[in-house]
């Protein structure tokens, strides 16, 4: 850890300013830099005449949203959900199934995806949150796989093979999203919006209670909180956010399959969060970028690219428990 015990001669901290503003500001600056760079991608794609770049980065942004939502419960609630990809799937299938029946509006897709995600999160969360540690991991994994097999068995919607979309979602009757760059900026907008939302939540009263349950659930009970309620609410919020990424993923790929929901995907989301920096929000975003770019590049050289990714993960965790975000904070001399 970078924080060393405070020397007793240190000037007393002013009680009026316990907010650690500077660090907060630097996070804001980092977020601005990352999102600002992202916004340039379609421009670069245009200049380099490589339209694939925009589509590829849309996918990265989609997973950044999913990883961000996972960090909310993983980083701030210490809830290691191994079934988070299921929620991405709910959003994706909301697009596929509704479109199939002629309902193509993205707002309906979003409402349906979020609705299913919320119901599933309430039901499975209420059960999973009765357990701790490894049991929580196993039971969320089991529920995730249940969802996976459910959609595998839906032969009317492609079953195992998945289903191609006839087109992207419409926006109030227009086919705006048909343009790759529009879909890109809509996805980036969603990511920025959800990042700001998540940042507000973790700093709110609710977020402080959630972080408290992560630190010590017994202490929280002893001052009058019932951790279960707050953990369940966080679980539901994270699921709903992930389903939004699913709606966008279906649009990016114009194809939906149960593979989106498999435990591999859930594991990959966890890797993104840990690699990027657990409990930093921005870390999930960075993790998604790094993992997916590594996947892209490493898979060119070898089919065993996952091994390369594993190696990178081990190195990062060994040298910076707070992931890439922690590395940057140390390099820039933040902390205390």
């Amino acid at each position: 850890m970078s924080d060393s015990p405070a020397p007793t001669t240190a000037p007393p901290a002013s009680p009026a300013a316990p907010l650690r503003r500077p660090r907060l500001f630097s996070r804001g600056a980092a977020a601005l830099a990352i999102f600002g760079l992202m916004a340039l991608v379609p421009l670069v794609a245009h200049l380099s005449d490589d339209p694939f770049l925009t589509v590829a980065f849309t996918r990265i942004l989609v997973f950044a949203i999913a990883a961000l939502s996972l960090d909310l419960i993983l980083g701030y609630g210490a809830l290691v959900s191994f079934g988070h990809a299921a929620y991405v799937g709910f959003g994706a299938y909301a697009v596929a199934i509704l479109s199939r029946h002629g309902i193509t509006d993205i707002f309906v897709h979003l409402a349906a995806g979020i609705g299913v995600a919320v119901i599933f999160a309430v039901l499975t969360g209420a059960i999973a949150l009765r357990t701790r540690g490894v049991y929580f991991i196993m039971i969320t994994l089991a529920f995730g796989q249940m969802a996976y097999f459910f959609f595998t068995s839906l032969s009317a919607y492609g079953g195992d093979d998945g289903i191609s979309l006839r087109g992207r979602s419409t926006v109030l009757g227009t086919d705006l999203l048909a343009h790759n760059s529009v879909l890109f900026y809509v996805t980036l907008g969603a990511l920025v919006g959800l990042y700001l939302l998540a940042a507000a939540v973790v700093n709110s009263r609710f977020g402080r209670v959630l972080a408290g349950t992560r630190e010590d659930a017994l202490r929280m009970q002893a001052i009058g909180f019932r951790p279960f309620r707050y953990q369940l609410a966080a679980f539901v919020i994270a699921g709903a956010m992930a389903s939004i990424s699913g709606v966008l993923l279906a649009n990016q790929a114009e194809f939906v399959s149960p593979a989106y929901m498999s435990w591999h995907r859930s594991g990959e989301l966890i890797v993104m969060v840990i690699l990027g920096g657990i409990g930093t929000l921005l870390g999930g975003v960075v993790g998604a970028v790094v993992v997916l770019l590594l996947e892209e590049w490493l898979s060119v050289f070898t089919t065993h690219w996952r091994m390369g990714l594993g190696l990178v993960l081990i190195l990062v965790v060994l040298f910076s428990p707070k992931g890439i975000a922690g590395l940057f904070e140390r390099l820039l001399g933040r902390g205390k």
Partner: protein
């Protein structure tokens, strides 16, 4: 007058071991009641049952005449029961101020608020600073809790308990591990709240116990072998044999 806390033939076993073996006890409003007893006597286990952390096998706990035997910990806290832990239980990654402010937050308004910085709520911070001042820890408010010394952690435990605005304090060895100066500060603080605050004090520090307690109960092997004023307890031959003698020898 109804007792603030009434314990009726409480029983708790861990396997073959009867850790709480038929304890009955009344604590009057405003009383400072100390519980002493050798290591492993079952003091912490008793406190755990009173605070709702552990369920007794049988018996009842009444609070202001109301049966709370089956109420959970958070429910009891909202009725005004506060507990400090023998083994320091704090949020190590939070600042000292945040630790205490969170206890204030628990009783001031809803915590299902998703917007607005909790750290910037003046009402919570001002109240928290007040409690920290009371225990002499205000100048450490901005420090991360894990960086504090053991004695300071004990003071924090106390501030957190006070911040729940209790009507009954359950203190499990608040003096354990405090340095001399911290112990004196704590003793002064306990003197201050004595008479205003109803307190159950589990403590090994005999100086503190005999200086503070209105009444003392002696717990040995899960049973209360004597209850009385400090004078009565000091004079009690059975207590001397079972406990005090051994304590004197040790010191």
């Amino acid at each position: 007058m109804t007792a603030r806390l009434e314990i009726r033939s409480l029983h708790k076993r861990f396997g073959a071991l009867a850790v709480t073996d038929g304890i009955s006890l009344d604590i009057a409003p405003g009383e400072l009641h100390a519980i002493i007893g050798p290591n492993g006597a079952g003091k912490t286990t008793l406190v755990a049952q009173l605070s709702g952390q552990l369920a007794p096998d049988s018996g009842q706990v009444l609070y202001d005449g109301r049966d709370i035997t089956h109420m959970d910990m958070a429910g009891r806290v909202h009725l005004g029961m506060a507990r400090s832990f023998q083994i320091t239980t704090i949020l190590h990654g939070f600042t000292v101020l945040q630790n205490v402010a969170l206890a204030v937050q628990a009783r001031k308004g809803s915590s299902f608020r998703f917007f607005g910085r909790a750290d910037a709520e003046p009402a919570l911070n001002a109240a928290a600073i007040g409690y920290l001042r009371q225990v002499g820890l205000a100048e450490r408010a901005g420090d991360v809790a894990r960086n504090l010394s053991h004695g300071e952690h004990r003071q924090m435990e106390f501030a957190i308990a006070l911040a729940t605005a209790p009507r009954l304090l359950l203190l499990d060895e608040p003096f354990a591990g405090t340095g001399r100066q911290e112990a004196e500060q704590l003793l002064a603080l306990m003197r201050q709240i004595k008479g205003k605050q109803t307190t159950l004090l589990v403590e090994h520090d005999m100086n503190a116990v005999f200086a503070l307690a209105d009444r003392i109960s002696v717990l040995v092997y899960g049973r209360i072998i004597a209850t009385g004023t400090p004078g009565e307890i000091r004079a009690n031959a059975e207590v001397r044999a079972a406990y005090l003698g051994e304590e004197d020898a040790a010191c």
